[in-house]
Structures are given as C-alpha cells and as structure tokens.
Amino acid sequence: MNSERLFLILLSIYIFLTGLVWAVVVPYNEAPDEYTHFDVANFMEQNRRLPVFGQDENMGVSKFEIPGVTLKYNASYSAMPPLAYLWQATFISLGKGNKAYLLARFADIILGIASSWVAFKLSKSLFKSFSLRAAFTVVGVITPQVLFSFSYVNSDAILLLFSFVLWYWLVRLWTKTVNIYEALGLGLSLGLATLTRYNVAPLVILVVVAFLITILKSFVKRQISLKKGLFIILATFFTSVITGGWWYLRNLVLYHDLSVTQQFWQTYHQIYPFNDHLNSWQILTRTDWLWRNWQSIWGVFGWNSILMPDLIYKILLGFGALAIIFLLVLWVNLNYQEKTVVFFSGLLLLSLVILSLWQSQTYAFQPQGRYLFPAWPGLVYLLVKGWQQVLPLKINHLKLLNKKIFSFGLIIIWLYFDLYVLINFLIPTYY
C-alpha cells in the first residue's frame, strides 16, 4: 500500500472515531440550532415528504422559544435548502427514539470523511509534494470548528463537502477544458451545491464564470468546435437545473419567493425583534464583528458560547498573517495557476465577508465564521502556500525547516488541537 492510500485510510478512521467521540460527548442541542435542523430531517423521515414552510408548524424555533405563541409562519428551517436534511433523514430511518439524533450526527461524520477524500484530491492540483498535500487536507478537515461541524446536526457539514468539490472544479477548470462526461459531473456538483446553503452562491457563481471562460478559451484556441462548446454548456446547465432547480421551482409555486428568505426572516423577527440596526461601517468599527468571525472560523463551541483562550486565536492570527505576508513578498515566485488560486481565494473570502456583513446589517447580528465556509478551502490554501514560500527555511546554510518537517509538524499540532478542545472545553463544560 502506498503512503497516500495509507494516509487517507488513517485520516478517514481518525475523522470517524474523533467525530463519534465528539458526537457522543456533546449533548443533544448543545450546538447552534441543532434542534431546528434535526426537526426538519426528522419530519422528512416520519412523513416521507418535504415540510411546507408555514403549514407544517410543529417544528422549529418558535416552538421552543415562546411556548404557547402561534405565529403565522414558523421560523423553522423547512425554508432552507434540503440536501443536508434529506441525507440526515436517510440515516435517521435506521433507528428510532433517542437514537435518531445520534444517527443524524453520524450522517455528518460520513460527510467529514468524504470531505477529506475530496480535499486530498483537490490538494493534488495545488501542491506537488505529498507532505504539503497531507497538511492541506488535515488543516482543511480537522480544524476544531470544522470537526465540530461534522459532529452535530446542521447544514454546514454538507456545505463544507460541496465547497471542497466546487473548489476542485474551480482549479480543474482553470487548467484544462472539460469533456462531455466531466460536464455532467460539473452540472451535478453545481446543482447539488445549490441545495446545501444559500451562502454557497458566490462560489457557484465563480465556478460558472470559470467554466464559461474555459469553454470560450478552448473555442478561441480551436480546441473545441462551437457546436461542441454549446453542447457542453447546455449539458452542464440542464444537469444542474434538473439536480438543484426543482427546489427553487417548488419555492416559486408554493411561496412565490425563490428562496423563501423574506417569509423566514419576517417570522424570525417576530420571535427575535431586530431593533439595533447598524450599518456595515458601524458594525466593523464599533463592534467586535471581525474578531468574532475570526474566532468562530477556528473554534467556538456550544451555542457559540464556549471560546478558547484569546491567546489561541492570536497565535492563529499571527500564523495566518505571516502566511499572507510571505505570499505578497514572494509573489514573483508564484506561477500563473498559483496566482490565480490566490486571487480566487481572496476574492471569494471578500465576497463572503460582504455577504455575511450584509446579513448582520439587514437581518440579524450574527458574526459566525461558518458563513465563510465556502471560502475555507481557499483560506487553508493561502496558509499552506504562504508558508511554503519560505521553505526550506535556512539560517547560515543550516536547514531549519523543510516541507516535510513543516507539514508533519502542522499535522501533529492539529491533532493535539482537537485533543485540547475535547479535554479542556467540551468535556469540562458538560460533565
């Protein structure tokens, strides 16, 4: 067995067992909106159909927050894209009673394993050495916040998986054109991604633009004919529409609203009045919005109430800032593809920050790093690529840090990072 296969097998078992340990240790509903997510998946399993927002009232936020209050609509997640819940409902159907929530969590652990495979596949397009690929994969899938997302019932886990899938396509499309079979795979990926969470939209748009540019370039270079180019575009388009479009069509028919977000937020604001409107500038300058986003992209647990010591987030900030500085200072060392991926990473991160800021300004003040998850593979790339620029690190011809030592050191630190969170925060908080 070669090293790569052995690494993936070990990592898969690690994610499975660590995810299971975390899933057992964290009590039910001790994670953001877990009951709201679980209710939708459980409804699907019990009724063998999708819930209708506003009609299938016995689920969601208001049931728990304001006992006895009946609202026109319920701010349940039945309005949210259904892929995560369909996947979890499949696992819930394997057992009844109080086993159901753990089975739904188990479904998300499987998504974690799948994410590690896709992340490693993506890493092959990004790094030449095995050690850097391994470091990229490990940081991508076992960072505490990511591992936490793979161990409770939510829709972020499936978003993470499809973020890695779409990032794979993004990098792949920039290097060579697609054939008709790949077009079907791309269409399927895009369609399924639109059924994960709405904040995947900037990544979907970026992939579609990259796809159209690639086809156009291939046509200009006469690598494909106009007829074949159009055929590939139509095949991708129809595959994605058939896979994901039905949900949006259903929304239009049932609610006359493509995303049902207006009705959802109207109901939400009846439960949680939103009076403290700040504009984006005020949010950035008068609140700790940015810092809380930074904290919660690495690890904030429970209902966003269990934080690690500030020192940890500051160390991570230093680690990240150095990576960006190395990238900028040694920009000329990057090849065209690397520069493009760095650009995409920055662009996507900026788009998602703006989107999240808009949500905090318009609907609810929620500085949560998970809203930036579609940019997560790009962020991890920036970190690893940035540090790669200074490797091997030499002082007076003495090689202090090479790729292998850096990568394996990073992996070991990340393993202990998970252990640290489990022993110092998750177990002592609840037991």
Binding site: I13, L17, L20, N98, L401, K404, I413, Y416, Y431
Partner: protein
C-alpha cells in the same frame, strides 16, 4: 527459547504490570465535578453587612479545593474572603466551625472566568456538611464582586442564604477532589454514557475512546515512520520537537491566578 530470553520476557511483563498497577492505583489526579451546566445568573455584590452562604456535602473522601466564577459590577478594588466551615453538632446546637480562609482582591478577578481555590492542606471528609461563606468586610455599598448565583435551585444537598434571606438558587461552585486514575476515568465515562443512545454502557464507551486513542497515536506513528524513511535534518527534527513542547507549555500555562485556602 533460551532461558535468558524467557527471563527477559518475564522481567518485562512484571515491569509492565507493576507499572500499570502503580499508575492505576498510586497516581492521584484532581477531579473537578461540574454540578451546574445551564443556569440563569443572579448577582449579589458583597459588602460590609451583606454575605452569602452555600451549604455543601462532599461526595468523595479527599477535598482538594473549589472552582468558582464571579461577576464584577464595578471596578472598585477591595479584598474579598471565602471561609470554609464544618457544620458541627454541639450541646448548644449546630455551629459552623471555621476551617479554612481564602483572601483575594477584586482586581485579580474577571467576570465569568473560572478560578481554582486550593485547600492547603487538602481536607479529608466523611459525608459531613460544610458551608462556604463569601464576604467582603471592608467594602462599602459600592462593592464590586458577587459570586455567580443560579436563578433556580439545582444543587439539592445544600441551602443558600444571604445575610437577609434564603436564596432561590445556588452559588455556582465546582468541588475538586483527589482521586485515582480508574475512578477519574469511570466518573467521566458514567456521566458521558448516561442517557446516550448506543453508548449508554461505559465499557462500550471506553472501547470507543480506546479505539480513538489507538488511531490518534497511529497517525503520529505513520508520520514518524514516513519521516524516518526519508533523509531529513536531525537538527530540524529537534527544533520541531522543541516547538511542540513550547506550544504545549504555552497552552498548558494557567494564565489566571490560582488562590489558596489557608487552614485556620
């Protein structure tokens, strides 16, 4: 097999079991019991004539200390005291016999942080009732510190009083006991297993943790073997190990102050 080899194996086995026995029975570890998970917070700032008392019955034989959290209502600096006393039956009725006293300043306290207060020396107990008394004799009504008190009564083995009345909730506290490794592991396994689907048996749960530990160490072994297979710089490897130890020290460093209960 040669007699010499058999002796070596037997010596190894004896060392293994002796070491295991010592580790499991002789090594003592602190166990912090989390008695409160979710609670609404009430605060009662302590001042000259206003104190708070919390009754408490230890459920293990050796008490090492307590963990408390506080709420600060202003930035005034003044000393605060916590007294631990044992409830004792006498001819004239029940009295509280003071045993330990901890004194600290409000300037060392941040709202919501947990602080350990260690008993010096540790206290052997036998299901007796103890009282924790929080008071700040030199502060005025602009007092700044309150122990965190829950809104409802979660801890049923001890009452809570202020100077003026019985309180509905409990002072949030976590007793720290001395225990051995098997009891430490058993405590957490029982609590985690309680009410859980699939893993409601602590031995099954122990199997999950053991499997996880094997893979946790296995991944590191894989990395080490991969490193050893290739040529690498020995100095760099030492640097890596040094960095990891440094990181461990930084993470393990307790930044908040630790306080001492001194024996009266």
């Amino acid at each position: 097999m040669k007699q010499k080899n058999i002796l070596k194996i037997m010596a190894g086995l004896i060392l293994f079991f002796l070491g295991g026995f010592l580790f499991l029975k002789v090594v003592k570890v602190p166990l912090t019991e989390n008695l409160f998970i979710h609670y609404g917070i009430n605060a009662y700032p302590l001042y000259q004539d206003f104190e708070i008392k919390q009754g408490f019955v230890p459920n293990r034989s050796k008490l090492l200390g307590f963990r408390f959290a506080f709420k600060k209502t202003n930035t005034n600096e003044h000393p605060v005291k916590i007294e631990l006393s044992r409830e004792t039956e006498t001819q004239s009725g029940r009295i509280n016999l003071p045993l330990y006293l901890a004194t600290f300043s409000t300037k060392d306290i941040e709202t919501g942080e947990n602080y350990n207060f260690w008993l010096s020396p540790p206290l052997s107990t036998n299901k007796e009732k103890f009282w924790l008394r929080f008071f700040a004799p030199v502060s005025t009504e602009s007092a700044s510190l309150s122990p965190i008190v829950s809104r409802v009564n979660n801890y049923l083995e001890g009452e809570t009083y202020s100077s003026v009345r019985v309180l509905d909730g409990d002072v949030i506290f976590q007793p720290i006991y001395e225990t051995d490794v098997p009891h430490f592991i058993s405590y957490y396994l029982n609590k985690i297993a309680f009410g859980k689907p699939f893993f409601n048996n602590k031995f099954f749960l122990l199997g999950l943790f053991a499997g996880w530990l094997v893979i946790f160490l296995g991944v590191q072994l894989f990395l080490m073997l991969t490193l050893l297979k290739s040529t690498f710089n020995l100095k760099a490897a030492f640097l890596l190990i040094f960095t990891l130890i440094l990181l461990g020290v930084i993470l393990g460093y307790q930044s908040q102050p630790q306080f001492i209960f001194t024996k009266l």
